[in-house]
Symmetry: C5
Subunit: 354 residues, 5 copies
């Protein structure tokens, strides 16, 4: 159930631009990481609060400010002042339940994405909102949750792996987006594994538990789909390079991420089709089983009801029942009983019930 | 069931432009609120009937006329004369069952919206039609129902919260529209809560009551969807600023409302998918339960029918039934009975029925 | 079932332009009404056959020729000659089973519409094809059926209600189209009423009759939809004023009719969704009921089968059955029977079956 | 099952342009009809093989070559040489399983259509591929099957009915296409009749036979739809007159055929919706019937099981059963039995089962 | 289940352009075939590793390098260097789970396709990714699997069949693509055969095995569809000749392949519709059968329960049961029993149960 979305309801009637954190992780302390690098140097600083604004410096340098835990509104205000971010953007960063989108504010691009992660404890995935602000020489990234989501990129930066240190802020933004998209594949792989074992279950020994699992994954797919479609749109817009902030030589890179989102969407749609098929199979299996059960019942009843009738007939206490006196009456009844049973069985055999 | 729509049927064959109120709230008295403000001053007056037309004055002033209860047609006629509104617009304001739309009459924009509210008593939501007329220095708002729908905006105006007093009539219109869209979230949140508990119910102990609830919410979603899609279209047109009446710096604001309608639509579609899934689960659960019931019946019948046959066999009154004379005949029968029962049970155990 | 369409099959292989009436109302006599008016005067004549062609006269006058009952082909030929109508148009007017469409023949527009009416006797609606030819100073209207479909417009003309007498042939055509669209609402209102009572029925006491009604309305909706979608297209084209025959000041009027067709389509789609939901509910209710029935059966069988076995056990005629001689054997059996019955009942209670 | 399509599989890996007949009617002899006409004269010749190429002559004359039975590849090669047809076109003519399409080769148009006919023996329709080549003064038509598909057009040519003799090759092509489209209506009418009786059957006494019929027609509709959609596309392209080979005054004629294909498609879609509805009704009826059956069973079991228990109780052979000695014991039991039966019946009546 | 796709998950967080083979066939040795030809000469060499780069030579010559087994990354690197292929392309070639696509790198086109083949052992098809690089005078083809997929084209080259030797690299690429598309038909034909026998099974004697087969083919169709849609897109782009690398006279050829993909897609969609229909039929048949089974049970129970009650009544041991003493009591009971049985049978006959 899209819990996050509900918080939007709390702001009914407020003036636009009000900076109010609407999430549930208000207790998390902010963790701010400022990374500045060019192809030669790299400096990384960890802060608890954003205090001073000293961005300027070498225009050849790229500055990446990552804000973890956005509930401390004052940090955001400071960052907003420093980089001259529009109040509506700041409001959106705080507002949980945003849809992936990209907005062009001329001086910078505001990008909202959803990242999904497996929750540590269980198998249900967690969707987190990521806000990126891409300026000419800086990238700001904000997210609500804890955990260092961007560790692999930071690692590449520090170790100068690949071309990341030689390129601009737009390439950094690309790397972050690429990482976020890749996480979808990790989750989709897990779903794929679950579905494979579910498919076996549904065919061989379906249980209400199976049904519950199919239903749960189906709802997860609905959620994934809801977040992947606008993500695709966002990346398509970045690929079309509508903003001069994204340089031409990133074309192929964004096309690559775009392809990945398409594959992810295809996979989600395919999974949905397969899950629908599973439900059909489940219902049909239930129907099959019911038929099996009813066949057993009917066979038993059809054989024993006439027999019991016959025996009960000769259990009557009428004075005048000539058969009762017959020498072989009992054996005749036994014979009739066996014959009825056998003819019933052959009837069912002809009907292919047994 | 879309009751409101039916009233359109009452006007078959009438000439266009006939001012006839087609709603059901004719008994409500009109309540007219005229608010005039600029960044320094604000004046608010409450009237029972619209009598004099004295709009002019300072072109820097914004005039907002809110008409509550539209059944008194003469008010509308007066307002129409005063602001030179097209007769078809006046007719549409009176006509209940309109679809959200925006029409550009050069001098003003005519905007129809649907607001939803929880009915005070029950949980079913109520849909109300709101008509807005946005002119260069004025906003006219009309709605059928009672209750001060726009109280939060009026409050912000009076307390000069945010930038509302510094901006023009278009910003006021934006605020009203924003408020109307926000109300959808309040209702969607309530539906979300209901669905969460329904989902539990469907999985654990489904009842016909559950089915009825799922059906009811599903129909509500159909209704919501029917009103959200054209709403989205209306706001998209406003966002594209096709009319000069909407100034350029409202761009981001309308984009924001647009995003919200998209989220609302997404949520409604998601809810519909989830509700369809629930119905599937419901049917499957019913099928499961039937299987359970039939298993109990079949097990009982399969065990006791043969046993009763045997006992009934030895209840026959034939003269010559040698077994009856056996010393341990009775115990043999008891033994056979127990063996049959046990073998049946093991048969069902192998079939995983018990 | 779309009977009308089948008649098209009768013309296989004929050369185009053959004037052959393909309908079923050949027995109806033609009724021709010629109305000529301007803002001062109005003249109306009723004829049985169209004989002379004297259209000319004052170009300020509007001529409306309404032909009721089109089976007398010679009338049509005369009218065609008089107004220089293309043979394919004449053929189309005669051909029952046309789809709503608008065709621009430069000198005139040919418009095909479908009107629906309640059949007098029952509740099933009847679809009739209306052909309109809109020229610069004239409107020709043709329809197959009897009854004065356009009475309200004629009435407004005669009583000079509204602006109809002051405007041109295009406005007259608009009035006729508006009237036809309004009839859809009358029928939709009836369907709405039927559906409301069906919805109650489905929830409380569904019967095969209910199912049949749902099915019937569903098929009616399929038919309505099939005629509304092209109707919408027709009116959209008229609204875009692709022909100079429609003057600019009719813009708002056609937009209004267009809105109405959209609302009608929305309503039909909504009704279809609701009817699909009803079928789901019906199936689920049937399933529920079956469960209820099977519970009753299972409870009865589960209680009485073991009991009957026990009593039947002591009905055996073995010589040596020590229990039979016991002083309180009978009472012990009674006690056992009661205990079994009670424990079964408590088992079912725990299973929530009773 | 689309058998024809499978033959495409036989050509895997062959170079394009290989003239190989892939159909199943290789045993049919070719029948070639050459018709040459202008408004004054008409000459028709029947050949078994196409030998000489003497097309030229009067450019005012239209030449129509109709090839029945295309398995004799050499005929095709000759025609191809004579009219300078592209090898890929010749290949396509031979290849069974083509989709309706139109291809513009500047000098001529290549048009593929599907014609449907009732098979002579049964009710299942047969789909045949028709290839048309429309040049400036000639029309070539090829089809696989036997029978004179185009007899009505030939008849009109010979008898100079309508305007066919006065117009060019494009009008002839139009006539052939019109005829092919008209055949769809003949088949659709037959389906309509079948569906009407099926609908009655489904409502009153559904049987597995009904189900099979619904399924069969549903599959037929899938096939019809698959051939109608591209047909519509073909005719839309011809109507837009993208090629100069089609003269302007055929506009209205092609619009007419286009309308007919739209009506045919609408009808197929409508039939599909109705057939889906029938399947729902079938399933619901089955469910209804099962409920009826189970009610009978449950009523019988619920009444007689307790009764049999009671009688069986007093059939026990315990020595000490005081009731057995009572004077009116038997009558009391009879009374109890009747009371139980009556109370059960009233219980079922209250449950509305009887 | 789309196993291949999962491997994408293994690369999360890696810098783009990393050449890592993500497939499962790493054990297969590479097999490189270099073919150079013009209309007069053809030279073919088989290598185990790509070592030297000596492409140049006669620009009239076409070079085709086919790499079978792509797990030896160094080969790919060499080829990449030699032909100056972009690193992202090389990465894509190695990455299993790509979607069919075409990318224009000015100097060459990069084309990804999916080929399907029947697995040798069973009936399930195998999907393989094929990468083509089309340059001005060369074609590079890469695929993961073993087996000479392109044997028929190589054969045509060697034997100079058709026009293949006279045309350029673009024609060669067309031949390879045509071959890949043709393979879909081979597989679709097999599916068609399976479906035909399944359809019979579903109608005459459906079993859970049938259900499993329907489900399996349905999932296969989902997979086929997922790979055919982007394939169609790829060929549409090639047909539109957006790149100068494809010469004008290939127009008709690519249109032909495009038609084939459309037919394949149509067929897959048709199969899906038919399979859905089969599932409906299956469920309905199950329902039918259950009804049949329950009828048998109900008939038996309804006849024998009352009879057994009567006989059990006269099995009671009451002292005073006057009937027991009657001379013909027994025969009366027999008569009653027969009458009850007959009236029950006629009741069921009237209900059309037997």
């Amino acid at each position: 159930m899209p819990k996050s979305f509900r918080r939007m309801a709390r702001k009914v009637g407020m003036p636009p631009g009000s900076l109010i954190y609407t999430g549930e992780k208000g207790h998390l302390p902010a963790k701010i990481t400022i990374t500045r690098y060019n192809s030669e140097n790299i400096v990384e600083r960890q802060l608890d609060a954003f205090t001073e604004c000293q961005m300027a410096g070498d225009p050849e340098e790229v500055t990446w400010i990552n804000v973890n835990g956005i509930s401390q509104v004052h940090n955001l205000e400071k960052v907003g002042e420093c980089f001259k971010i529009h109040p509506l953007v700041l409001e959106d960063i705080l507002e949980v339940g945003q849809r992936p989108k990209v907005e062009d504010y001329d001086d910078y691009l505001y990008i909202v994405l959803n990242s999904i992660r497996s929750a540590a404890e269980g198998e249900k995935f967690v969707s987190e909102e990521i806000s990126l602000v891409l300026g000419p020489h800086y990238v700001l990234s904000f997210y609500e949750g804890d955990g260092d989501l961007f560790a692999p990129v930071r690692d590449r930066l520090l170790k100068a792996k690949g071309r990341i240190r030689k390129m601009g802020a737009d390439y950094l933004a690309y790397c972050l987006i690429d990482l976020i998209v890749d996480h979808y594949f990790v989750e989709l792989e897990k779903f794929g594994d679950q579905m494979e074992s579910l498919e076996d279950e549904v065919m061989t020994h379906p249980s209400p538990q199976t049904l519950g699992d199919v239903h749960r994954i189906k709802n997860d797919m609905i959620m994934l789909r809801k977040s992947l479609w606008p993500l695709r749109e966002v990346i398509a817009r970045l690929e079309r390079r509508e903003s001069p902030l994204i340089s031409e030589n990133l074309d192929n890179y964004f096309r690559d991420v775009y392809d990945h989102t398409i594959i992810a969407i295809d996979t989600v749609e395919t999974y949905r089709d397969i899950l629908s098929g599973m439900l059909d199979i489940y219902l049909s299996s239930m129907s099959n089983r019911l038929n099996e059960i009813m066949k057993v019942l009917t066979i038993i009843a059809t054989i024993f009801m006439p027999l019991t009738f016959i025996t009960s007939l000769y259990g009557m206490n009428f004075k005048h029942m000539p058969e009762l006196q017959w020498r072989y009456g009992y054996y005749v009844v036994i014979g009739v009983v066996v014959m009825i049973a056998l003819s019933m069985l052959s009837f069912f055999r002809r009907k292919r019930w047994i």
